[in-house]
Symmetry: C2
Subunit: 347 residues, 2 copies
């Protein structure tokens, strides 16, 4: 059962398991440093579909189907699917998941969606409300560019602080505790807005949210950055990554030795021309649901704080002079459960 | 604790209470049959803001603040806020709720959002994951028209099957069981797509989802329409309302005597020029969080099935030739709890 730890953190007493996971990515991501980790790399980023939006739906569908098949699971066993994406009215999720016939909670957390869905799915399983929850999200470079910035055909220039939307999808299936990776705790984020208005500097807009959620988690649990092998932010990129470390340093939390960012892991930022790094819902989702969960499963990582960060603006809100509010949700993943702790301490 | 009843329905054993609620609407809604029931009627639908989107954010902010103040509650006591809306990237929620400093689960369920947030909030409270959950959504005629159809200045004609997006917001605060209205059970819907492509006939697109969720609930619980005082769909309007009754009739469930629709309750459809009735997230939210919850609180209604229905398409998906998938989530509201049943039966 979920129990409060401090004001904002929920300790998941049963430690739900991520029983299966999969990541599907595009060509460019498949040429990056994590190439060996992904389940499917699509050489043709149209996925054989007629539009970029349909291609993105296809990514999400393929990620779910692969996660189910890897785990020997069927869609009919799933109690809920928790899904969302960046496109207007979350159409990647709707059309990608339409045929699965699983009760759907549609989410909107921008690039924080993978963590949001894992928070909710894990709470549901820990509380007994669900047996199996499918958590999934996606993004596509081409659908995101034309919706949020310019049509690709326009060939716009990108400033050095801009990030590159990942073409990819990640899916994790949460189920009652049985094996690593386990979900030990979650901290749901609050909107933070420091007045950033530059849409080409999303990392800076999201960093305060990541810092706030991390600080909250450390205070709630009485732990410090040194208690974790890895503190993994979603897609702050180069600018935001530096900023979150600085913001936390001011609060006397030094995460610099443990911190990494999915947007910096998925691409070789010197070689692949992605400016400040990767971004998009699919960035943190595909890195988590391959590289990171693999390492936790094999006990190469034992205690990971995963924080996907989202920028909650829209082109319309920016045109109307609004700043960019950020949000970050935290999931504490581990190779051991609370039950394991007792066993280890008992011996 | 939530326990499964049948395959898809969750019985909420503790029967969480809706401890406070409020509805804020625009001028036209304030001239309709439910005028006396709303907490705030805004004569100026700009809400004193410079854009329609900011006006909609303001509706949502006002609804939350009114619900909190009516219940003698403060934002700092709230554990989660579950919110979403129709606008791209859900900006009404983000900017409306930005200053509240409550952990946010952003939702996208189109016009099903009020039921989606109530489902999640009630599960969270019933499972002990949360003490207080704020559930809120909104829509605004002017922001919706220009995003989904045409700018108002264009003066487009509307066919008889078209519905009128409600300018309004409804907010409900769910907390541990203490008084009516109680949430007894929830059924989370699955995407249903019958191939409808006419954006001016949303009722027809959403009716199959409402029928599917209702049928699922009746089968899971072994109840029939006659066990309820009111079966209230979200915003099917005239066309969809007739259709859902026909679809269920084919399955041998006659809801016609108990069925009503928020889109038909909020306007006088003969006098107010709204064609097939009201629609939008704010339609079911504002009708539920005034008229309906008031009646349950005063035991004028005792057993209500509330089903908000959503059409999960976007203008882009329609332009690309996709049909309109629908979804409907069900919340069983009651003036009595399971505990009351035992007491009554015991005497």
């Amino acid at each position: 059962m979920p129990t409060r730890q401090g004001r904002y953190t929920l300790r998941l007493d049963s430690c739900p398991s991520i029983v299966s996971f999969a990541a599907v990515v595009g060509k460019k991501e498949g040429e990056g440093p994590l190439a060996q980790e992904f389940d499917i790399i699509c050489d043709d980023t149209t996925m054989g579909e007629k539009t970029w939006e349909k291609a993105e739906s296809r990514l999400q569908k393929d990620a779910v189907n692969r996660a189910l098949s890897k785990g020997g699971l069927s869609a009919s066993e799933m109690d809920f699917i928790l899904a969302g994406d960046l496109l207007n009215q979350c159409i990647s999720s709707t059309y990608g998941l339409r045929d699965l016939n699983i009760p759907l909670f549609g989410l909107y957390g921008a690039c924080s969606t993978m963590a949001e869905s894992l928070c909710l799915g894990s709470i549901m399983v820990d509380s007994g409300a669900a047996g199996h929850c499918v958590c999934v999200t996606s993004s596509h470079f081409c659908s995101a560019e034309r919706q949020f910035r310019y049509p690709l055909e326009y060939g716009s220039q990108r400033p050095p602080t801009a990030q590159w939307t990942v073409t990819g999808s990640g899916c994790a299936v949460v189920a009652p505790s049985c094996k690593a990776p386990y979900v030990r705790a979650v901290t749901v984020g609050k909107i933070q807005d420091m007045g950033i208005t530059d849409v080409n500097n999303m990392g800076a807009a999201m960093a305060p949210a990541a810092a706030d959620t991390l600080k909250t988690f450390f205070m709630d649990t009485g732990t410090t950055p040194d208690n974790y092998d890895l503190i993994l932010t979603g897609d702050l990129g180069q600018v935001g990554s530096q900023l979150v470390e600085e913001l936390l340093q001011r609060e006397s939390f030094d995460i610099s030795k443990r911190h990494s960012d999915c947007g910096l892991l998925i691409f070789d930022i010197k070689e692949q021309g992605v400016n400040a790094g990767g971004s998009g819902c699919g960035c943190s989702a595909s890195v988590l649901c391959s590289h990171i969960l693999n390492k936790i499963q094999h006990k190469e990582l034992n205690n990971v704080l995963f924080l996907a960060t989202g920028a909650l603006m829209s082109p319309t809100s920016l045109q109307q002079g609004e700043s960019i509010p950020g949000i970050a949700h935290l999931v504490h993943l581990s190779s051991t459960s609370y039950q394991d702790d007792c066993t280890i301490n008992g011996h």
